[in-house]
């Protein structure tokens, strides 16, 4: 009996000690989550009282072509930009792991773009993509290539974003660098004795040893891609003058990302109910993707003999 009292007491004490977090979690996570679920079933403009409409918002999003267009654009960033960024980060990490004079400077130079505020960086890139005076097209012209109007032509807008993304892989590079340095040197020495070349050593030793880190980075980067907003918001706002209208998705909606369309619905069109329904759809997609990727990570870790 005394033991049970002690357990209850510990439980209450535990609850009291963790109450700041619990209160914060209830107020700032659970309440907004439940609210958004409720709002997704209402017609709501964020200010006046919501009106119950049942599943109308969900029907609306499934019949809205822009929802699927924006989802397609977001998936492009998740599954095209992510592997490219990972490759660039790994390449940069391999370079800065090598022993050469000025390595510290090169490391800093590669990482520096990651600490530049996204707004400033995007504005710089808008200038770099200028069809006439921009650096990108000027460099292409050295090779006799007439560069496109990157941010005006729907065929190139997403590739412009991919290019921008590669510039900002400093953090990923650091993680890869750390993983590369953790691979035991004895493995390389043994392989070298066995006559393995640099390429063989990379694919048969380096890649398997750091695979779990790469997969983890890929998961994070993919999930981040579903929150891709700031860059396109700035680019589209900068182009708003040419087109007029505050809400748009770039040429032919080619850079209308899913979070941006949620934002437009919520705050430009004042359709908070539809925006909430869209947010829940995104939540479900990301949840499924996370479960899938977690399983992949576990598998890769097991295969790599990880713990």
């Amino acid at each position: 009996m005394k033991g049970r009292n002690a357990t209850q007491r510990d439980f209450i004490n535990g609850l009291l000690f963790s109450s700041p977090w619990i209160l914060g979690f209830l107020a700032f996570s659970v309440y907004p989550l439940i609210s958004s679920l409720y709002y997704s079933l209402t017609k709501f403009n964020a200010v006046t009282a919501p009106q119950w409409v049942g599943l109308d918002n969900y029907k609306d999003i499934f019949s809205d072509p822009l929802v699927w267009k924006s989802l397609g654009n977001t998936l492009f960033m998740a599954f095209v930009s992510t592997p490219i960024n990972l490759f660039v980060a790994l390449l940069l990490a391999s370079i800065v792991c090598a022993d050469f004079k000025g390595r510290g400077f090169v490391r800093t130079a590669f990482f520096l773009p990651s600490v530049i505020p996204m707004v400033a960086a995007t504005m710089v890139w808008i200038w770099m993509f200028d069809p006439t005076y921009g650096y990108i097209n000027n460099v292409l012209s050295w090779f006799g290539i007439s560069g496109p109007a990157w941010l005006m032509d729907a065929h190139y807008t997403k590739w412009a974003l991919v290019l921008m993304g590669t510039w900002n892989t400093g953090t990923m590079m650091l993680v890869c660098m750390s993983a590369l340095q953790s691979v035991p040197r004895s493995y390389y020495e043994s392989a070298e004795i066995d006559g393995a070349g640099k390429v063989a050593r990379f694919f048969y030793i380096t890649v398997p040893c750091i695979a779990h880190v790469l997969v983890y980075q890929a998961i994070l980067s993919t999930i981040n891609a579903f929150q891709y907003f700031q860059q396109v918001y700035i680019i589209i706002s900068a182009n708003a003058g040419v087109k007029g209208g505050s809400a748009a998705g770039g040429p032919e909606n080619s850079i209308l990302m899913y979070p941006l369309y949620v934002f437009h619905n919520a705050f430009t069109y004042l359709k908070m109910g539809k925006a909430s329904a869209m947010a829940w759809l995104l939540f479900i997609i990301v949840a499924i993707l996370t479960v899938f990727m977690t399983k992949v990570t576990r598998k890769v870790t097991e295969n790599a003999g990880g713990e």
Partner: protein
């Protein structure tokens, strides 16, 4: 003892968390007490001037920054000095999202400055207070404003905002380029304009456009004024969407003809650069690289500030040979001052709104921001007319040929659809007919 200590510590942590969450409200309470103690009341506490003659605070949010924000602050100071019942506190808020959040969280400003397009959207969502009862009560004379300015802010026969200034677009032309093309007078019809544009367009050896003849930049004007000149309308008088309007098709066909002649890629290149440099020293028109430019009344002041040496003229946007009376038709917009439905001090808000949009208040704003007057008496004001370009634009305003925004809640969605539709035309992925047919399908359910 051990138990007591642990309970005290846990309670302390919980208290910290709770006070952390509630710091904002407790601060507000303290502030309210402080202001009450000092005799100052917040705008929400009373609806009539305080008995102790202390001014009630009216909060006013405007979406201007920098030098323009200073102009608004100057106007606010003059209002505050002109009477003692109310004290206006201005705040520059450029983020429309913040206004919505403030309205939804009972922190709404008393007065907001928004575009007349936003007036329609907010009214349709029940966010604005009708000013009609205030106007009726005081027999407010709304005839001081131009008819189109009042129409722009009247919905279902009720006034929802007062016009502060007006905004229209007309045509600038580069005299030197026009002369080089063999003309001495600007065009009066779209057909004449096209002919001049083709002759004036200059292309380098690689096909890049060096001088743009046809006014496809900015696209916003191509979407509006180039179409209005053909009699095209995206919506009718009853605010029904009309993407199948014949004038739209006629205008788009002319745009496509020009694009086909000089190449879509070359045009995109020029327009992309023009957009990056818009309203900077390198602006294409300021640099003498555009023959025609459809733009607002602020352009001459900008050109003067950037020391542009371009010899330009201002003329009305062309009509067509078949309908020359359409000449000068342009969008008509106003910056408007409105009172949110959640405002705490509506009487004070109306008083300030009335003053700011009066001849006295509006003159400060018009001169400071370079926008055109909505108050008719300012049309002939010497100071206003002294602003470069204003005389020509005011002459255009007097024609009252402005195209008003439709009264539809989904206006922003419609414009997004139109922009995407025009993209498909300009990229060549759809013909104008196909694109407009698709738009008709997409926009059918908009309200």
């Amino acid at each position: 003892m051990k138990r007591a200590i642990s309970i005290i510590m846990a309670a302390g942590m919980a208290a910290l968390a709770v006070t952390g969450c509630g710091s904002s409200s407790s601060t507000q309470a303290t502030t309210a007490q402080t202001t009450a103690a000092s005799g100052e009341t917040t705008s929400g506490e009373t609806s009539a001037p305080a008995e102790n003659k202390e001014a009630q605070v009216i909060t006013f949010w405007y979406n201007n920054t920098g030098d323009e924000a200073a102009v608004y602050e100057k106007a606010i100071s003059e209002y505050n000095a002109s009477q003692s019942n109310y004290k206006v506190e201005g705040l520059s808020v450029t983020d429309a999202q913040k206004v919505i959040v403030a309205m939804s969280s009972n922190e709404s400003p008393d007065v907001i400055k928004i575009s007349n397009q936003t007036v329609v959207q907010y009214q349709k969502n029940g966010l604005l207070e009708s000013l009609q009862p205030y106007a009726d009560k005081e027999s407010f004379d709304s005839s001081i404003y131009s008819e189109q300015a009042m129409n722009a802010n009247t919905i279902d026969r009720a006034i929802y905002a007062l016009p502060l200034d007006a905004y229209t677009i007309q045509m600038y032309y580069n005299k030197e380029l026009l002369k080089e093309a063999g003309y001495t007078e600007p065009p009066k019809t779209m057909e004449e304009m096209y002919e001049m544009a083709v002759k004036a367009t200059k292309v380098d050896g690689s096909g890049n456009i060096e001088v743009l003849g046809y006014p496809l930049f900015p696209y916003a004007s191509a979407r509006q004024e180039l179409i209005y000149g053909f009699g095209g309308r995206w919506w009718d008088e009853e605010s029904n969407v009309t993407p199948d309007n014949a004038g739209i098709l006629e205008s788009l066909n002319m745009n496509v003809k020009y694009r086909d002649q000089f190449g879509g890629k070359a045009l995109d290149g020029f327009i992309g650069t023009a957009n990056t440099n818009r309203y900077t020293e390198q602006d294409m028109f300021f640099q003498g690289k555009q023959l025609f430019r459809l733009d607002g009344s602020w352009l001459p002041t900008m050109m003067k500030n950037f020391k542009s040496t371009v010899d330009y003229g201002i003329t009305l946007i062309p009509g067509t040979q078949a309908n020359p009376e359409l000449r000068g038709t342009s969008r008509y917009e106003t910056d408007s001052v409105a009172v949110p439905a959640m405002a705490k001090n509506k009487d004070g808000a109306w008083d300030f709104t009335k003053w700011l949009c009066s001849q006295e208040g509006a003159k400060i704003i018009d001169l400071g921001t370079g926008n055109l007057p909505a108050v008719k008496a300012l049309y002939d004001d010497a100071d206003i007319k002294a602003v470069p370009g204003f005389t020509e634009f005011i002459d255009a305003l007097k024609q009252e040929k402005g195209i008003q925004y439709p009264v539809m809640a989904d206006y922003d969605e419609y414009i997004s659809m139109i922009n995407a539709t025009l993209d498909t035309v300009y990229s060549g992925s759809k013909t104008p007919e196909e694109a407009l047919k698709a738009l008709a399908g997409q926009s059918a359910n908009l309200k």
